[in-house]
């Protein structure tokens, strides 16, 4: 009985449109949450696979000597596979040409992850093995520079090897210091016969591991203990690639957008369920009169409530799936393979969100319904328990739960929560005071007077309405600013003339030649940075080693895209010291004034930390963790590195440059830049759709708040019209009233957005806050426009009906 009755009621309610705003907000919330969480989940998984491939494994051990080999052989690995590779730079000779190449020698377990794509005379093919002994693979640039055909001989040190295939794609591109020179891959077994590796030559030994996470952690601990000065351990979590950060930041934005959309929807749901409750007071009274027990009524509404959940979950999840597959499609050109299927987590978050919304914002209203007295059937005006405090209280708790669910940080949630509650109380109080006292009489003589008196008369109701508009406008503006800020920082990071070529291995003589070459060809390079390899040691009792081989440079001028965050850059009277990046300072706990030793080649230089820099790693110019004062390096021999921009249509200049300076490695990052630009473009699209959805939920909220206000107005306008007020008086007074409401809430919304942006940018995203002054204009304008248009729509609906019809209801 209950089942059929509840189904009947539910379908009728849905069909009659009474539940529309509640269902729509719930669906919207679920769509956004599931869409975003599914998308970020899959994206994260894909990126993990991607970085895994990029790294070549889950863990990489890098060393300049091979003393770790014994330790690695002693590791009792259960499910983890590992491989060894040796990296060095060497000049390669063909019959007619010679060229510096970065050589990667790999053992039989190569590659641990992914596949190589190669090309030979038969065409493209994929392999997952190392080259046969006696053969090498080379990338296309090197092949062209050496004028090689498949089957040709090359000379690498003392060894004669056969070139058999061109490397189109290799998985472990993150290999070491030599990664950017044209690449050769050879078999490990051939390394000895080349006689290239001599004591003192610069070689990097890499060990890659791939296996279950638990074992990887154990291996990491073990290696951490055994590793020596200059060794480095890399794992997946340290993804500092430009793309990784781009995606990271946009993920933050997605989550923010999702949270805001959900909060907006929660407010809408609250308002909608209040209306639902008001309408159902009569139902409950009748049902009680007919002898339904409280338990049955509870069950009835619980069922209604269950249908709502199921329906909205089904529709919302399907839409969310569509949304995320849309996003994925946008990004698909970037991901070479099928994206992994999402984990169960997004589903969990979505269902939890739906449940919190239901229990926090709908259920309390329905509980209130149960207390309706059946006497209402005899006396229509019997007061319905208007106790709103507990309802608000439960709503607030649900709000806090949602915050926690999305931020996963208790303090942050509490701060936002208290901020919002404080702002709400202050805001509602302020509006209440602002509206002032109402005079006697409705002031129905002119529309302006009527509007003002209306505003004042329903002070409390209006305060809530303004508050709802304020939240809607403010949160939309926050989302708008956040997306604008994000886009701005990306666009700023890749200017059109950002360097698209790097040159390394530049000797002193090359440097002068290249400088004049650039001048002749009107190319503007970044400075020539001297580079050498150094280790840093802390000068303390324990002589703690700072475990890393740094590429170090020395220069007078602070490079562009660098910003001093602590201490001061070298000045005329400071002729010593190091400037380190924030990440290094944090990782090794180095502070201004700390004394350190630099070990360069065999030389030991005593110095100290002079400044800490914030480095923009997104910029495509040479960046350095450590910069020393030039006076320290007078006796150090070094190479130089520089970067420069060559427009696409002048690419032959690059070829010329390479031909003229044979030992210099010039490589183009044009493709990388294009890729990043493309991804930014695609993320922007995703970003805009989130912004759009957020605005949509804001409009829903504004609409339900208005609709709520209009139910009171309906009756009154009917009476006014019966008494002879003209339609235009009612229309224009309502428009004026709501335009005013809109402007007030728009202004308050801007205020909210300002506070919110400041908080989010500085405290959550930990960047400097960027304010957009246009917000001050946008807020009130949006308020004016949106509220007036919605009001116009609603008032027209009222005026179409005859007063009799309205009074009959």
């Amino acid at each position: 009985m209950l089942l059929s009755l509840s189904l009947k009621l539910f379908t009728r309610e849905v069909r009659s449109g009474y539940l529309t705003s509640m269902l729509a907000s719930l669906i919207l919330a679920i769509t956004i949450v599931s869409g975003i969480s599914l998308f970020t989940d899959r994206l994260e998984q894909a990126l993990n696979t991607e970085t895994e491939e990029f790294l070549g494994g889950k863990l990489k051990f890098e060393s300049n000597q091979n003393s770790i080999k014994a330790v690695i052989e002693d590791l009792e690995l259960e499910e983890t596979s590992h491989m060894e590779m040796v990296l060095f730079a060497s000049v390669i000779f063909s019959d007619d040409e010679m060229q510096l190449s970065s050589v990667k020698a790999v053992d039989n377990y190569y590659p641990l992850i992914g596949e190589l794509e190669l090309k030979n005379s038969a065409g493209l093919f994929k392999v997952s093995s190392n080259p046969e002994p006696g053969t090498v693979w080379m990338d296309e640039r090197l092949q062209n520079l050496l004028l090689l055909d498949y089957g040709d001989e090359i000379f690498l040190g003392d060894a004669k090897l056969i070139f058999t295939a061109t490397i189109i794609y290799e998985p472990d591109r993150a290999s070491g210091n030599f990664a950017f020179a044209p690449k050769t891959i050879m078999n490990m077994l051939d390394v000895e016969s080349t006689n290239v590796i001599q004591p003192g030559s610069r070689v990097e030994y890499n060990y890659l591991f791939n296996g279950p996470d638990e074992e990887i952690v154990k291996i990491k601990e073990k290696l951490e203990k055994e590793k020596e000065n200059g060794d480095d351990i890399e794992t997946l979590s340290e993804d500092t690639s430009s793309l990784g950060r781009t995606v990271d930041r946009s993920e933050n934005f997605f989550l923010l957008g999702g949270l805001i959309a959900v909060l907006l929807s929660a407010c809408t749901i609250g308002i909608a369920s209040q209306r639902f409750t008001r309408r159902h007071v009569g139902y409950v009274a009748i049902l009680k009169t007919l002898g339904m027990t409280t338990f049955q009524i509870k069950a009835l509404y619980f069922l209604l409530f269950l249908y709502t959940t199921l329906l909205t979950l089904a529709v919302g999840l399907s839409l969310g799936w569509l949304l995320q597959s849309n996003f994925i499609n946008l990004m698909s050109s970037y991901f070479p393979t099928e994206l992994p299927v999402p984990s169960i987590y997004p589903l969990f978050v979505t269902c939890l969100t739906a449940l919190i919304c239901q229990f926090g914002f709908i259920y309390p209203h329905i509980l209130k319904l149960l207390s309706v007295s059946p006497m209402r059937v005899l006396k229509d005006d019997i007061a319905f328990n208007q106790e709103t405090i507990p309802v608000f209280f439960i709503g607030a708790i649900a709000f806090l739960f949602l915050l926690y669910l999305y931020t996963n940080q208790l303090t942050l949630s509490l701060i936002i929560f208290l901020g919002v509650v404080g702002f709400s109380l202050a805001g509602i109080g302020l509006i209440y005071l602002l509206l002032g006292k109402s005079e006697t009489g409705l002031g129905a003589s002119s529309s302006l007077k009527l509007a003002l008196s209306e505003l004042r008369r329903r002070k409390l109701g209006n305060s809530f309405q303004i508050f709802a508009f304020t939240i809607a406008i403010g949160l939309s503006l926050i989302t708008f600013s956040a997306s604008k800020n994000l886009l701005g920082s990306w666009q700023g990071s890749i200017p059109d003339d950002s360097p698209n070529n790097f040159a390394i291995n530049i000797t002193d003589e090359d440097k002068n030649g290249m400088e004049s070459f650039f001048k002749e060809n009107q190319i503007n390079p970044t400075p020539f940075f001297p580079v050498t390899n150094a280790t840093i040691e802390r000068e303390e009792e324990d002589q703690e080693l700072i475990d890393r081989n740094f590429n170090i440079t020395w220069i007078d001028q602070l490079p562009e895209q660098n910003e001093i965050s602590d201490g001061a850059w070298f000045s005329d009277d400071v002729i010593n010291g190091l400037s380190i990046s924030e990440s290094i300072a944090e990782r090794y706990n180095l502070k201004i004034g700390d004394k350190v030793f630099l070990k360069v080649n065999e030389e030991i230089i005593g110095t100290y930390i002079q400044s800490v820099r914030r480095v923009n790693w997104d910029s495509f110019s040479p960046n350095f963790f450590v910069i020393g004062h030039p006076s320290l390096f007078k006796n150090v021999t070094s190479n130089y590195i520089t970067s420069f921009y060559i427009p696409t249509e002048r690419q032959q200049v690059a070829a010329e440059l390479m031909r003229e300076f044979r030992t210099v490695s010039v490589f183009s990052i044009e493709e990388l830049i294009d890729q990043v630009k493309e991804i930014i473009g695609q993320v922007t699209k995703a970003l805009n759709s989130i912004l759009l959805l957020t605005c949509l939920s804001a409009i829903f909220l504004a609409f339900s708040a208005l609709q709520d206000g209009f139910s009171v107005r309906k009756h009154q306008s009917a009476i006014l019209r019966t008494l002879g007020a003209s339609n235009s008086l009612i229309k224009s007074s309502a428009l004026i009233e709501f335009a005013l409401l809109g402007v007030i809430s728009g202004t308050l919304g801007s205020l909210l957005a300002y506070g919110g942006i400041y908080f989010i940018e500085t405290k959550v995203f930990e960047t400097t806050a960027n304010f957009y002054p246009e917000i001050w204009i946008m807020g009130p304008l949006i308020g004016l426009f949106v509220v007036s248009v919605l009001c116009f729509y609603l008032i027209n609906g009222i005026i179409k009906q005859s007063p009799k019809e309205l009074l009959m209801r």
Partner: protein, 220 residues
């Protein structure tokens, strides 16, 4: 004895003062009899009806409905009692707007889990002359038609006693006449007792008994 009322008293607190709405009301009604409650506006008629039907509780006094002491029952038991024994017709019809006429009439029998709620409901809808309109929603029916649906609903649940609060109050005299005729006619076909609150003296005169309220007390 279907209804027996002893020294009924109802007070409500309005602000900080206690207001007595009903005082010292006693009467009784035999099975199958009809009773009219009359009196000026504000004299406590609706309040009394609410107490008799178990919608509200009295401050003191006793009510026996079909030998059951209403004053001893809690809200849940009163709900069950209403379901089993009581039917209602109200001034403002009180139909569920999202159910059709037929579904509204079926509702009480469904609540009682009776065997064939549909046939029963169709019979009574036909009896009040609305079989053509059974699939219409309340807002598609006129006031008089809605009240006829309400009457069908009241009788369809085979109650022992029927309460009506100004059943003709919202209707024009002609429709009012139709409704009161229907009430008495259908009532005579069953052996329900009938309690009607009304301003309409003609209607009151058709009842077997009448009590007149003034300021919450019965005047002789």
């Amino acid at each position: 004895m279907i209804l027996e009322v002893n020294k009924l008293r109802k007070e409500v607190s309005s602000g900080d003062s206690e207001l007595t709405i009903l005082d010292d009301v006693s009467f009784s009604l035999e099975e199958g009899q009809s009773l009219a409650i009359t009196g000026p506006s504000g004299s406590g008629k609706s309040t009394l009806l609410g107490l008799l039907a178990g919608l509200d509780t009295a401050t003191s006094g006793e009510i026996y409905l079909d030998e059951v002491g209403l004053h001893k029952l809690d809200e849940e038991d009163r709900a069950i009692l209403r379901k089993e024994k009581v039917g209602f017709v109200f001034q403002s019809f009180e139909l569920l707007p999202s159910l059709t006429a037929l579904e509204n009439v079926m509702l009480p029998s469904e609540l009682k889990s009776e065997d064939n709620p549909k046939e029963n409901a169709e019979y009574f809808l036909n009896r009040v002359g609305l079989s053509e309109r059974e699939h219409h929603y309340p807002n598609q029916l006129s006031g008089g038609e809605q009240q006829r649906v309400a009457i069908a609903r009241a009788f369809a649940c085979s109650a022992k006693i029927l309460f009506a609060d100004e059943p003709t109050g919202n209707l024009d005299p002609k429709n009012g006449q139709v409704i009161s005729d229907l009430l008495f006619e259908v009532n005579s076909e069953t052996d329900n007792a009938l309690v009607i609150v009304t301003h309409d003296l003609e209607l009151a005169n058709r009842c077997d008994k009448r009590i007149d309220l003034k300021l919450g007390r019965i005047v002789e």
